[in-house]
């Protein structure tokens, strides 16, 4: 089909997002869709500008990975006026749901919960002091993954978050902050587990733990979210324990829904949830690494 789709991506701030972009482009190519790609460099205003430009260009549909939940009403209304269907990718908006066709994504809070539940099960009823590496202060994954995790461990009084600081979703900050956690908690002897809002911070933190002379994965349990290839390497080495997958292939389901809608007006469900799959060391991390390596992470 000669279809033109505009894709407003948040940016390229992480390996995960780069993979999402790569997969979206691949999917579009496979289906013969002309994809107009706009990188917003983390700015909502750029995304709004991009969507407006898409409308001005008269694209057939728009994919939007919204950087925040709020503030989309007007521009989505404009798209609706112009009869261009919008599909949300991987994050949600708080606009009324008749302004977009559907949203494909995972439930961020659920991801945190899955991670928390794993940890609860893993430690049983031992006492466990947890340190938490948050994502960028104020970003929705940081807020929701924190909330989900806290929900999962609430009611288990043996689990306690003793320190929580932002690592900005990056390896460098993950490592730096973990170093200070280790110093502040008696050289790390008080810490039983690390929960990181993404794998990159966990990878950085693992190095810090190693450099402090402790063994990540056994002295300190490591659980994180995203399931990027490098965390599987760590798992294979026994340095990380678990990760929750956030699939970068959001575009596949999105294009499916669009195809169906544009062909005969089939309305998809309003939320197409992707699976938040938990991986642990027992899931053959080596082969998963090999498989994920080439997906553009």
């Amino acid at each position: 089909a000669d279809m033109t789709v505009g894709f407003s991506q948040i940016g390229s701030e992480s390996g995960w997002r780069a993979a999402e972009t790569t997969l979206t482009k691949e999917q579009a190519e496979k289906r013969g869709i002309d994809l107009k790609f706009a990188d917003a460099q983390q700015k909502q205003e750029n995304q709004i500008k991009a969507i407006r430009s898409f409308i001005a260009q008269g694209v057939d549909a728009i994919l939007l990975a919204p950087v925040v939940a709020t503030g989309w009403d007007q521009v989505l209304e404009e798209a609706k006026d112009a009869e261009i269907p919008v599909v949300l990718l991987d994050r949600q908006v708080d606009s009324s749901d008749d302004l977009y066709l559907t949203a494909v994504g995972s439930d961020l809070e659920h991801e945190g919960e899955v991670a928390g539940e794993w940890l609860v099960k893993e430690v049983g009823d031992k006492d466990c002091n947890i340190v938490e590496l948050q994502g960028t202060t104020g970003s929705s994954p940081a807020i929701k993954r924190k909330a989900g995790f806290e929900k999962a461990i609430s009611g288990h009084d043996n689990l306690k978050i003793v320190r929580s600081q932002t690592g900005d979703f990056t390896r460098t900050k993950g490592k730096e902050v973990m170093e200070s956690f280790l110093k502040a908690e008696n050289g790390g002897k008080n810490i039983c587990a690390l929960y990181a809002h993404n794998d990159d911070m966990a990878v950085g933190a693992i190095q810090a733990i190693k450099e402090a002379g402790l063994k990540p994965g056994s002295d300190i349990l490591v659980v994180s979210i995203d399931a990027v290839p490098d965390i599987f390497l760590a798992m294979q080495n026994g340095e990380a324990n678990a990760t929750v997958e956030l699939t970068p292939n959001m575009a596949g389901p999105a294009f499916d829904a669009l195809d169906a809608y544009l062909k005969d007006g089939t309305k998809p469900e309003k939320f197409i949830q992707t699976e938040s799959k938990l991986y642990t060391q027992s899931d053959d991390p080596k082969s998963i690494y090999e498989e994920k390596k080439n997906q553009g992470y």
Binding site: G6, Q9, G11, S12, A18, T21, L35, K36, F37, A38, D39, Q41, Q42, K43, Q44, E45, N46, I48, K49, A50, R52, S53, F54, I55, A56, Q57, G58, V68, A69, T70, G71, W72, D73, Q74, A82, D94, T136, T137, G138, S139, S140, I143
Partner: protein, 328 residues
């Protein structure tokens, strides 16, 4: 000469028109009222903030805090109207008072403590965003009747484009800025301080008062820009508008204002804003650039515009026989 200053303004305008024509040649759709309307609406908040930045830069200073002030504004308004139940108009008045005082304090530190503006406003940048975080780290939707009313205020142009309220507000702010810069004593004093602070002082320009007013004005306009931004997104978010100060500085400089102060036009800044908006629009229309090429191309286009401008000004200076080996 005044005419040579106007010449560089005309040059910039010419470059803009030329660039727009080139864009249209490639994407005929870009000649729609939609695109023109979008250019104004999408850049409204940036434009309003850039007017303030123009005054600051004209005085030889710089204000790195405006992006953070915009973020603070959004969060403050959203939480004030939502959680604290402050009536919208009162919240706005309160907000503008806060940002103005914030700017005045920065200006006072710059003057009385003889601290460089770059650093004072850098601290201000950390501070304003920090306060925004303290108020709320969530993105908070704004639901106020006033906002809906203002959203409804627009002219529909033939061809589907909209001249929105914030777009018009930006133009109004530019008009006011031009008036202040060129037809008030305050404006003259700003240019004087930018030209040479010590001379200005020896000529009796009230340095202290003017400096404080300049930064107060900039923060006031940043607050106004924040309101425009919150209208634009109907929300307040502490991570919003990161790096807007750099965009504003770039727009001011592309508009022909010298960072060393004392020379430039508010109207030039409008051209700067439009040129930057055009670059963005062009990239989206093209739609084939990867994330990284997007950045590289923005950088290259920025370079092309500045180099072109320098080139034209240099050529004209050469023609009038005023070229110098010594950088003036």
């Amino acid at each position: 000469m005044t005419s040579s200053r106007l010449f560089s303004l005309a040059t910039t305008f010419l470059i803009f028109i030329l660039a727009y024509a080139l864009c249209i040649a490639q994407f005929p759709n870009m000649l729609s009222t939609r695109v023109i309307g979008n250019l104004l609406t999408d850049n409204a908040f940036l434009g309003i903030a850039a007017v303030g930045m123009t005054f600051v830069i004209l005085s030889g200073g710089i204000d790195l805090s405006i992006g953070s002030v915009i973020a603070f504004t959004g969060v403050f308004l959203a939480v004030a109207m939502g959680d604290w139940g402050v009536p919208p108009l009162l919240a706005i008045v309160l907000l503008l008072a806060i940002t103005t005082v914030f700017g005045a304090v920065m200006g006072a530190m710059i003057h009385y403590l003889a601290m460089p503006p770059f650093i004072v406003t850098l601290a201000g940048m950390f501070f304003a965003r920090g306060i925004a975080f303290l108020i709320s780290i969530d993105s908070v939707p704004i639901k106020a009747g006033l906002y809906d009313t203002l959203h409804g205020l627009y002219f529909r142009m033939p061809g589907g484009g909209r001249l929105t309220f914030i777009g018009m507000a930006m133009l109004a702010v530019f008009l006011a800025g031009i008036l202040i810069a060129h037809f008030t004593s305050f404006g003259r004093n700003v240019y004087a301080i930018g030209g040479n602070r010590q001379s200005a002082e020896l000529m009796g320009v009230p340095i202290a008062r003017t400096t404080v007013m300049i930064y107060a004005l900039s923060s006031f306009l940043a607050g106004l820009a924040g309101i425009a931004f919150s209208l634009y997104t109907s929300a307040g978010y502490s991570l919003a508008a990161v790096g807007v100060e750099l965009d504003a500085i770039a727009a001011v400089v592309i508009g022909g204002t010298l960072l060393t102060g004392g020379s430039g036009y508010v109207a030039g800044t409008l051209l700067g804003i439009l040129i930057m908006g055009l670059i963005q629009t062009y990239i989206v229309f093209d739609g084939t650039l990867s994330s990284w090429w997007t950045k590289i191309v923005i950088g290259l286009l920025l370079f092309a515009f500045i180099a072109l401008q320098r080139g034209l000004v240099w050529l004209s200076a050469r023609r009038s026989g005023a070229s110098a080996a010594i950088p003036a």
